[in-house]
């Protein structure tokens, strides 16, 4: 599936960033109404559907807000970013290497718990995350209430409730994006804490990675991927960042430590 990674880059290349003032990635589980949010923001006529994995290619669209031209990239709907499938890899690669100015994670208010997994994974890769709690109308019908201020506090990123089908909350979402991209609003995502062994291994690998990655990619996140045995990430990092030697030291040690941790 080399082709897909190439697709992701191809789309990014076509985004013409010189022309737009900001690039926003739109991530989310399938069936969260992500494409409806996309259409609601950009007004593009793109097909949205109610089935898993509908968006198989990256769609992009533009909108103007407060005289800024924003480019929105609709990523494939995925349940995780652990690169299990081609779709997940495309989404992950775009957030990681496409360097969007912000990533909006759309979650389904009626099953928040399941959807938060993806949000937490995105927050490990980039601090510039906005959580869009969609389908609040449906949640209300099902008598589910979400405490959004509390959620924002717990996650450490802005949270915007929306009902994209009814076009509720989209202006607030635009404003939140604007604040993050142009007012440089800072977020403090609360990272997921892993068990002692993993954290100890990360603490060792992370500083060794940092000189290679030069702050271009979150070193903690890369360390975690090395620990969980994701080999695709090395090739991708080399391809995108042309960082030399990243393959050598950390990876071997990473594997060694894994063995140490679990023997």
């Amino acid at each position: 599936m080399k082709g897909l990674a190439v697709d992701a880059r191809g789309v990014f290349a076509k985004l013409n960033p010189a022309h737009s003032d900001g690039v926003i990635a739109l991530a989310g589980n399938p069936n969260t109404g992500k494409s409806t949010v996309f259409n609601g923001l950009t007004g593009l006529n793109q097909h949205t559907g109610n089935w898993p994995g509908k968006t198989v290619v990256l769609a992009k669209g533009n909108y103007r807000y407060k005289s800024k031209l924003i480019t929105l990239v609709d990523l494939p709907g995925t349940y995780s970013l652990l690169a299990n499938s081609a779709d997940e890899q495309v989404a992950r690669d775009f957030i990681c290497f496409g360097k969007p100015d912000a990533t909006v994670v759309v979650v389904d208010a009626t099953c928040l718990e399941r959807n938060l997994n993806l949000a937490l994974q995105v927050m490990e890769m980039t601090p510039k995350v906005i959580l869009c709690v969609n389908l609040i109308d449906e949640a209300k019908r099902k008598k589910i209430e979400i405490d959004c201020p509390k959620l924002a506090e717990l996650l450490g990123v802005p949270v915007v409730p929306t009902a994209a089908r009814e076009k509720v909350g989209l202006d607030k979402l635009k404003e939140a994006i604007h604040q993050m991209v142009f007012a440089h609003q800072q977020t403090r995502p609360r990272p997921v804490r892993y068990n002692q062994e993993i954290e100890a291994a990360v603490a060792k690998i992370q500083p060794e990675l940092e000189p290679y990655l030069r702050g271009k990619i979150d070193a903690r996140w890369v360390a975690l991927r090395l620990l969980d045995g994701d080999t695709t990430i090395i090739t991708e990092i080399k391809k995108y960042l042309r960082v030399e030697n990243v393959e050598k030291a950390p990876r071997e040690q990473g594997e060694l430590k894994v063995v140490k941790c679990y023997k």
């Binding site: 109610n50 209430e145 717990l154 997921v192």
Partner: protein
């Protein structure tokens, strides 16, 4: 993946649950109306009948609803052709140019538009409705067990649903399948779902076959016949998937979680606009782009004579023996080969090669078509094998290109063309021989 990944994933899930527990408040029962509906829709007793019933109903609506507008469009478009001819005469356009442009290019186009547009304009909105309602994941759920037994992935059903619209889209949709092995199975077998370009052929041939067999055909029996063809396509998909998972693509089916999304009543307005703009016109445009030049090319093939007969005649003659073995004839085989760019072209090509004057027939009635076919030695077996061959044969050019792009491999693309063709040849051969052996025709 190793135990580290499991621990990492577990930690993430844990955190998600902790956060959700603090911010989500539920009032009322957890299991709602969706739960009850799913109890029926995915039940062992009602699941399959409901699915088959819906399939048949959609085809019936499509067939009976498309009849009249098809007639109207064809009258309109073929009427305009006479005007074009008059203009050509007035401008003293040479006969060959008039032939290529009007009798070839324009007629090919008019045929495709009048035959394809009405069924698509009915089928796609209905299908999009089911899709937006959230019914399709339930279909996948119902069929999952069968696909698992065949060594394939349950999500393959979703890619097949996409294949109804267009096999190229179905092949692209295979990206939702995680394991490369199962994705390849899905890619290689997607073609056994008849795409929109083949529906008109299936419908027309069903009418012809039933007419020849039972003396009359109505939209209900035709719908049943088309639905039967689709079910057969699914069975062949299962069989070939099983075969592949035993031979070339060995392995055990992977488990997956299929989310059954909440039922959402589709917004009819946007649904209509989207299914007409994004699907109907998109597919039609593609067909027209291919059909117009192909129409011109075929007119030339049918009108340039070498010796006694036209080029098409020569080629058809060469293929006659092989075609007869399959219960078809040389012209049909030739039509399928020339129809590689788009399946929509098979019937127009066939008709053009049957007609001595080398022009696509004005098919204002099914009766005219039937008598033309019978005059060329057709029986109900020919029509049946035509359905089978169309259902099972190689994918169209666009789909093959998409497969090449998705698999990044010429070898798999080649297999994607040869495998279905092999199945089509074997099935048609067996049917023809059995029917002839028992003297049924």
């Amino acid at each position: 993946m190793g135990p580290v990944r499991d621990l990492i994933v577990a930690a993430i899930y844990d955190q998600a649950r902790q956060i959700a527990d603090q911010v989500v408040r539920r009032r009322g029962a957890e299991h709602d109306i969706d739960w009850k509906i799913d109890g029926i829709v995915t039940s062992k007793v009602f699941g399959y009948p409901l699915m088959l019933g819906l399939l048949g109903f959609i085809f019936w609506l499509t067939i009976s609803g498309a009849n009249y507008p098809s007639q109207l469009l064809s009258n309109l478009l073929f009427g305009f052709q006479d005007r074009l001819t008059a203009v050509c005469q007035w401008l003293n356009v040479p006969a060959w140019l008039h032939g290529v442009l009007v009798l070839g290019l324009y007629r090919g186009l008019a045929w495709v538009v009048s035959v394809m547009l009405p069924p698509m304009a009915i089928f796609f909105p209905l299908f999009t409705f089911l899709e937006d309602l959230g019914y399709l994941p339930r279909v996948a759920f119902n069929l999952d067990r069968l696909f698992k037994r065949a060594g394939a992935h349950g999500k393959q059903v979703l890619t097949m649903c996409m294949g109804f619209g267009c096999n190229a889209a179905g092949v692209t949709a295979c990206r939702i399948i995680e394991s490369p092995r199962e994705r390849l199975i899905a890619v290689l077998t997607n073609n056994f779902v008849p795409c929109n370009g083949r529906f008109p052929l299936l419908i027309t041939m069903s009418m012809v076959m039933l007419g020849a067999w039972a003396g009359h055909a109505n939209s209900i029996s035709a719908a049943l016949c088309v639905a039967g063809a689709v079910v057969l396509g699914v069975l062949v998909t299962l069989f070939v998937s099983w075969f592949l998972s035993q031979t070339l693509l060995k392995g055990v089916p992977s488990t997956f979680t299929l989310e059954l999304p909440a039922y959402r009543w589709p917004k009819i307005g946007t649904l209509l606009i989207r299914s007409v703009l994004d699907r109907t016109l998109f597919v039609l445009f593609r067909a027209v782009v291919v059909a117009a030049p192909a129409g011109a090319l075929i007119w030339i093939l049918a009108n340039v004579h070498i010796g006694e007969s036209s080029i098409i005649g020569h080629l058809g003659g060469r293929l006659q023996g092989f075609g007869h073995l399959l219960g078809l004839d040389g012209y049909i085989i030739l039509a399928f080969l020339l129809g590689l760019p788009a399946n929509e072209l098979v019937i127009p090509i066939l008709i053009m090669s049957y007609l001595s004057e080398g022009v696509m027939l004005e098919l204002d009635s099914l009766e005219a078509l039937r008598s033309l076919l019978v005059a060329n030695g057709w029986t109900w077996l020919t029509a049946l094998n035509m359905i089978l061959f169309s259902l099972l044969h190689f994918p169209c050019g666009t789909t093959l290109l998409t497969i090449r792009k998705e698999t990044q491999s010429t070898k798999w693309t080649l297999l994607a063309a040869l495998l279905p063709t092999g199945v089509a040849i074997v099935v048609c051969f067996l049917v023809a021989q059995v029917v002839r052996l028992f003297g049924l025709v």
